[in-house]
Symmetry: C2
Subunit: 318 residues, 2 copies
């Protein structure tokens, strides 16, 4: 049996999986990305977790390599560059750094990196809801909003390897300030971070009662907002409505560019399920250029949480 | 020598060219699209113009076929569907209709159709500034704003053949009403029609002097606005500035999706040249997601006016 290690580096968590060639995740571990804001410490922790994975592999010599999905991960250059949602800034040649650190530990493993959303898209394309589909858009709703665009059966990397940044398309001119330094990016509204900003803004600007007012500010997140919404909380429902509305503008704009057959959502905030999907579908159809209406399926990833990214990253190795 | 007939159907003009296999346009004619608002009459006129082209071909038996670029032209279905800038509405199976009309005249010619901007993109890819470039965006600034997106060396048609509608991405929420029935589409600002709307709005909302005030409303168009701008007319310069600003939002959003190496402009309004390109480049860099800044070349088509579309349409046949 051949194995690969798939790693999903997110703004919040770093998730690792030992993956078989049959796409089974036989062992996994994870840690908080932000617990290691200094790059050297982060890499030390990452190597420790990789060694933990290797130690749980029955045939460690059959591990073919390591695949990483990371925000602004560059497939061509093996680097992470200017990622707004990661603590380490600048251009990080993570492929070379990690390969060297592992070599120092006696492990000669090839590291391949791609954008986190591209990894998730790859996972969907090979194992998930996009099997057999030549044109689709995968949107990951995590700390940020990531995306992978597949056209003509191929992942669009663009000329520099950074294509697929629907999260950083502007949906509101002069809108909310974004971590990337601009204003009105989709991810300032429709990510886990975005919905918190919406909640905070709605709670401040009105006196209406809300379950969310009973929570500490740091307890308000995608999950607690969804719980409140399920109880009919008006402000929580408005949060999800605005999230869906902005998401619909961004995704329908991207759909005008590539005309996908399917849009697939994954990531923490996608666990909102119908609370998000029902308003999204309504706004999406309204916002679509008429020629595309009624043609584009909208689905949640059928793969388990984070698994599309881990499986897609691992697939880079196979 | 082999020949092909290339046709560029635009909201304003329909331009035909007899094209050699060496991409030389040896004879051309054209007519006003809007002079024939009834489809049957339009097709009669089109057939007459095609016969005129054939009569000017030294070896008419060597004409391989007809390629058409048209707004919302569908490569897969041979139809024009729901084109907001054409007088004939609905779904028009133009390939079959035209082939039959020509057959009735004794000409058995295969008709291939694609989106007008895709035809222009094809022309740029084979004969123009995009030769050898795998990832580029072609924007046609005509009656509307068309676009062709090439990724991984292939034209993106999308699952239904209608991909590449950057002109119908929303750049201003609840902005200007668009012919497609929605609001704030790029083409309501940055097309020949859009810049007229801008001029009209600026002239109405202020009392400032302007050369444009000396013109009749129907004389104000891309050309007269550019002439006024070259003389330093403040309102004309503002028109071009807003056109560039909105164009930058739409194109930088599309660039976030596909990460092109080059953006190429063609079409009537692109004749504004530096009056449009200089402010566009400034706003474009400002609006780009930082990772793309300084990487994307912006150019005008080096092919003569309309020729990219005629040549690209003709290339469908070769």
């Amino acid at each position: 049996m051949k194995y690969s290690i798939g790693i999903d580096i997110g703004g919040t968590n770093t998730c690792l999986g030992l993956v078989t060639e049959n796409a089974e995740i036989v062992y996994r571990n994870e840690f908080k990305t932000n617990d290691f804001p200094v790059l050297e410490n982060y890499l030390t922790q990452l190597v420790a977790k990789i060694k933990d994975l290797i130690s749980h592999c029955q045939e460690p010599d059959n591990i073919l390599g390591i695949g990483i999905g990371a925000p602004n991960g560059n497939f061509y250059k093996g680097s992470i560059e200017l990622a707004p949602n990661l603590p380490f800034k600048g251009i990080i040649p993570i492929k070379n750094m990690l390969e060297m650190l592992l070599l120092n530990e006696g492990w000669n493993l090839r590291v391949t990196i791609t954008n986190d959303a591209n990894a998730a898209g790859m996972g969907e394309m090979i194992y998930g809801n996009a099997r057999g589909i030549d044109d689709f858009i995968m949107i990951t709703l995590g700390t940020g909003v990531g995306s992978a665009i597949v056209s003509n059966g191929k992942m669009i990397y663009g000329h520099d390897g950074f294509a697929g940044e629907v999260g950083h398309t502007v949906v509101e001119r002069n809108g909310r300030e974004c971590g990337c330094g601009r204003k009105g990016c989709l991810e300032t509204y429709s990510s886990a971070t975005g919905i918190r900003r919406t909640a905070s803004s709605l709670l401040t600007s009105s006196q209406r009662p809300s379950i969310l007012r009973e929570l500490k500010e740091e307890e308000i997140d995608g999950q607690t907002i969804c719980e409140a919404a399920r109880k009919g909380d008006e402000i929580a429902l408005e949060c999800l409505d605005l999230t869906a509305q902005m998401l619909a503008i961004g995704v329908s704009n991207a759909a005008s560019v590539t005309s996908p057959k399917k849009v697939i959502f994954s990531g923490g905030l996608s666990k909102a399920g119908d609370l998000l999907l029902v308003p999204f579908k309504k706004y999406f159809e309204e916002n679509l250029y008429p020629v595309f209406r009624g043609k584009i399926e909208v689905e949640l990833s059928a793969l388990k949480e984070n698994d599309s990214a881990i499986l897609g990253a691992a697939a880079l190795t196979f």
